[in-house]
Amino acid sequence: MKFIYTLIPLCPLFAAIAAGLFGKRLGRVMSHRVTIGGVAMSFLLSLIAFQQVVLSGNTFNESIYTWMVSGGIRFEVGFLVDRLTVLMMLVVTFVSLMVHIYTIGYMHDDDGYQRFFSYISLFTFSMLMLVMSNNFMQLFFGWEAVGTVSYLLIGFWYKRDTAIFANMKAFLVNRVGDFGFILGIAAVVMYTGSLDYEEVFVKAQPLIGQTMSIMGGFEWSVLTVICICLFIGAMGKSAQMPLHVWLPDSMEGPTPISALIHAATMVTAGIFMVARMSPLFELSETALSFILVIGALTAFLMGLIGIVQHDIKRVVAYSTLSQLGYMTVALGASAYSAAIFHLMTHAFFKALLFLAAGSVIIALHHEQDMRKMGGLRKYLPITYWTSLIGSLALIGFPGLSGFFSKDLIIEAVHESTLPGATLAYWAVLAGVFVTAFYSFRMFFLVFHGKSRMDEHTEEHCHEPPNVVTWPLIALAVPSVIIGFMTMGPIVFGQYFEGVIFVDDSHNVIERVREHTTGAMSMLSHVPGSKAFYLAMAGVFFAWFFYLVKPEWPAKIQSKLGFLHRILDKKYGFDEFNQTVFAAGSVGIGAGLWRFGDQGVIDGAVVNGSAQGIGKLAGLARLSQSGYLFHYAFAMIIGLLVMMSIFLFI
């Protein structure tokens, strides 16, 4: 099996190398065949892995090679393929495969066709390395590698100023998260002496109660420090406040990667990581509370911004932020299985929504402003119906996949007793209304009502080719059924037994199980569910404001100008970062350079003493010719003279 597991990430890597280095020679068709073949291979092999791990029960945990040994610590590259990994592998390779196929249509006219395929295959490799890792070092490798490919892809259209600004911003904000992450890893190594998951989890148990002093006498629990540091990494990658600022801007990249990287896979790496580390996080309630609050704030506040966006992709982006907040809340409430469950359903329906948005964008010749859309239903039937499925899944319409995962999170948070759980509960509940409202605001603005397109666009508006619509359909299927089918085993069954560890004192899923036992019983609770009515209310208001009384939103906006401005400015995070951190750092740098380096060190000390010596040397200069080899010669004579003085006197 080692061979097969090794092939899973290597197939897309080799494909990426082929398309990247030899893309010109291979040509367009060959390049996409190679990369699609690579990812398809990974997907098929992941199915074998599923069969091995889930059906036959053979968890794999072995190292592939020794990266380095230093200071008694082994740094290895190795794979841990258990039930959590297999689930992620299937999600990653399936969505990636769909996105690869979709790209044939979406990037058809782009000069960077081969380069794009190379990047997304490279991304698939990196993401697989991340999820399949059995140690912290490789996790960090995958973590940074996906970030780098994301950097390359956001800036794919490198001529656009906004794109190259957005990709640098994304990389740097992620680096702030990684800063915490690497400190967390260093702490893990310090206290357990190992990087290997299994060993670390065993050695973490005795750390309970151990403290370290960081600042002036105040003692921190070691595990809290480790967990919060690691979670800061997750905040960067999974775009939690206040490190969320890069994700909306990342929409500058081509739409297929928004679906793959900035919705389905990379941004969920943080969620995956915390779930993977559940044996650590369970040992620190402080860290869990912290996670809960951060997630709740993100889930609610980012959803609100989605309401005022006009760019179709940005609405979906803020929706992604909000949904990532839901997953984070679930992690904080110790409902790891619910978080992973939502991660999976979200991967399907959010990838679907992004790809559908992309389908609209190509149909309208790269128009992204919803104010110039409307009435597209009749031009784009497949996109219309698949978008409807995606939107209903997103708002948690009973029976669709999002319903199960989101309601479960709400139920789980309701049961949590950690500090911050009440806030989180109301935040995620209110978030349901917000989600339904912005989703259907978008849906109605794009597909219903009167057309606001110009004539030329309307004339040429038609459903994109099959390579674009088939992936939509292929993603719509799991968006409908996957929740109903898998909820029982994944959340209430034994799927994650031995993989995810939950302390009995905050096992909220166990408490949910007391009144809900599976998909059917969840459906039977719908009539009494607050979330259901909130979602329906959201759809109703969206329908009312944007189809029945389309002139009202503008009026409300002018009445509530203050509130609108806050949302429109996205709570001012960008301005703050730009003026304080970005400009501030450059200012500090310039100040230190001018004052420290040039003023004090060079100005006063170096050149000052040089001038002093220069005067003295004026005398000596008389005897010298100016030829360099004379200097050199003089030096050696000088050396000998000095030595003789020291040795013989």
């Binding site: 780098t148 190259i164 310090m190 740098g589 230190l592 060190i601």
Partner: protein, 495 residues
């Protein structure tokens, strides 16, 4: 004889190149540099990684009346640096192939001679021999900057020369003092020389001045940006890739083993200076407008990791954590080697653009990717490596040192880890302004992409950057025995 060959082959060849003149200089230089590199490979493949003793040793009486011997030998600390030196020499010749038209024989001859001298620095086991090589490397570099340098080269060369020369004079005094105490210049004898506290402190400071200037540490770093800016491309590459490492090597070969107690006593100061280098210089790099200056400052910041990794050792020993001490020192070593490849590559990238546009100002570029896509791919790759991306060699040393420093103190790791943000910020911001965007001016519009020569040069470097990033054990495992031995040695007080 192998080490002597590696020293004298390039030196003699350098003289021959000077004598034969410009006509055949390029081909001879290329042949010699490749040959030197090939001859240096047995050092790696024939190296016994299980022992910490010096290997490939040679001994001859040189100036018996002064007790100065011609003693050579390598261990796991010096051997990788010699390979780095001979490899970079090949790159240097390739980089100069068509670019240097003025007095090419002198140029290439100087580099060959310098290579031999630098190998000598890393191979010398006699303190005076080391000193002579250490000083002598200045002469060819002085010539290279002085003749082929930029408009402000006189100031830069004088500053460079005085700074480094002043620094090493104190070292000579210290060496002579130790000779008077122990009657030997042999480095290994100095390691076991009994020295009291006061002696150690003074000797440590004398060495510190020499090596701190060389590596360079804050606040004696200001010669480096000036020297880099004025130096021709290959000069910058060698300066950054090899000459700075003499400082780091000096700490490991001289300061630590000869004066362990003083090193232990002053480790707080050294760590402080290292962290200032990482943070302060990181900010300063952010404000640079000249690409070479930016990379020069980035070098200083990266060298902060070297000194941090070295001196963190004493804190770990003090905490009774013998087993992990090697992590910091080996991290420092890996950082030096990795930086050799990456900084050389970065300077060569700037050189590639400078050869076409004759400007190093960031503001004179923009949108280079449009006209030089292959070059842009290399530049982005090296920039990411410079920012410490895992999978490239730039990550390995930083990762090791950050982990090791966390063991010493949370705040050391905290400050060191800021390089993740600062390093990425200054490097990628430069890339954004230089490489990406629309073509900004006619110069950029007329650029032609790299030719085969430049491609080979950058591809070779990229290969090693990746190789060490994916499999660092390749170099780390040769260091173990020597580093463990060093750790044992410095754990025991000399008095």
């Amino acid at each position: 004889m192998l080490l002597s060959l590696l020293i004298w082959l390039p030196i003699v060849a350098g003289v021959v190149i000077l004598a034969l003149g410009d006509a055949r200089a390029r081909h001879i230089a290329l042949g010699v540099s490749v040959l030197t590199f090939v001859f240096s490979l047995p050092l790696f493949f024939g190296f016994d990684t299980t022992i910490s003793q010096m290997q490939f040793t040679e001994h001859a009486a040189w100036l018996p009346s002064f007790d100065i011997n011609y003693t050579l030998g390598v261990d796991g600390i010096s051997m990788p640096l010699i390979l780095l030196t001979t490899f970079i020499n090949v790159i240097v010749v390739i980089s100069a192939w068509v670019v240097i038209t003025d007095r090419v024989a002198v140029y290439l001859g100087a580099f060959q001679i310098m290579t031999g001298l630098m190998v000598g620095v890393f191979a010398a086991l006699d303190a005076i021999l080391f000193y002579i090589f250490f000083e002598a490397t200045l002469i060819p570099m002085f010539l290279i900057i002085g003749i082929w340098g930029g408009p402000n080269r006189v100031y830069a060369t004088i500053k460079f020369f005085l700074y480094t020369f002043l620094g090493s004079v104190f070292m000579l005094v210290a060496l002579i003092y130790m000779y008077r105490v122990g009657s030997s210049f042999a480095v290994l004898d100095l390691h076991i020389l009994k020295l009291n506290q006061k002696e150690q402190l003074l000797i440590f400071l004398a060495f510190l001045i020499a090596f701190a200037v060389k590596i360079p540490m804050w606040p004696v770093h200001t010669w480096l940006p000036d020297a880099h800016v004025e130096a021709p491309t290959a000069g910058s590459a060698v300066l950054a890739a090899i000459m700075l490492k003499m400082g780091g090597y000096g700490f490991l070969r001289f300061s630590l083993p000869i004066t362990p107690d003083a090193s232990n006593r002053l480790d707080g100061l050294m760590i402080f200076l290292s962290l200032v280098a990482v943070v302060y210089i990181g900010f300063v790099a952010l404000a640079q407008r000249d690409m070479k200056k930016l990379i020069a400052y980035s070098s200083i910041s990266h060298m902060g990791f070297v000194t941090l990794g070295i001196f963190i050792a004493f804190m770990l020993i003090g905490a009774g954590d013998q087993s992990h001490v090697a992590l910091g020192i080996e991290g420092a070593m890996v950082q030096m080697i990795s930086h050799g490849f990456i900084s050389a590559a970065m300077f060569l990238c700037v050189g590639v653009m400078y050869d076409r546009v004759h400007s190093r100002e960031i503001a004179d570029y923009g949108g280079v990717v449009n006209t030089m896509p292959i070059f842009a791919a290399f530049m982005v790759f090296f920039a990411l490596a410079n920012a410490g991306l895992p999978g490239t060699s730039g990550f390995v040393g930083e990762f090791m040192v950050i982990i090791a420093s966390f063991k010493a103190n949370f705040w050391f790791a905290f400050l060191a880890a800021t390089t993740l943000i600062l390093g990425a910020a200054y490097t990628l911001w430069m890339v954004k302004r230089v490489i990406f965007g629309e073509v900004t001016n006619a110069n950029v519009a007329n650029l032609t992409d790299i030719d085969r020569r430049e491609f080979i040069m950058l591809a070779l470097l990229a290969f090693f950057v990746l190789l060490l990033g994916v499999w660092p054990n390749l170099v780390v495992h040769v260091m173990h025995a020597s580093v463990e031995n060093l750790v044992q040695h410095i754990s025991v007080s000399k008095y």
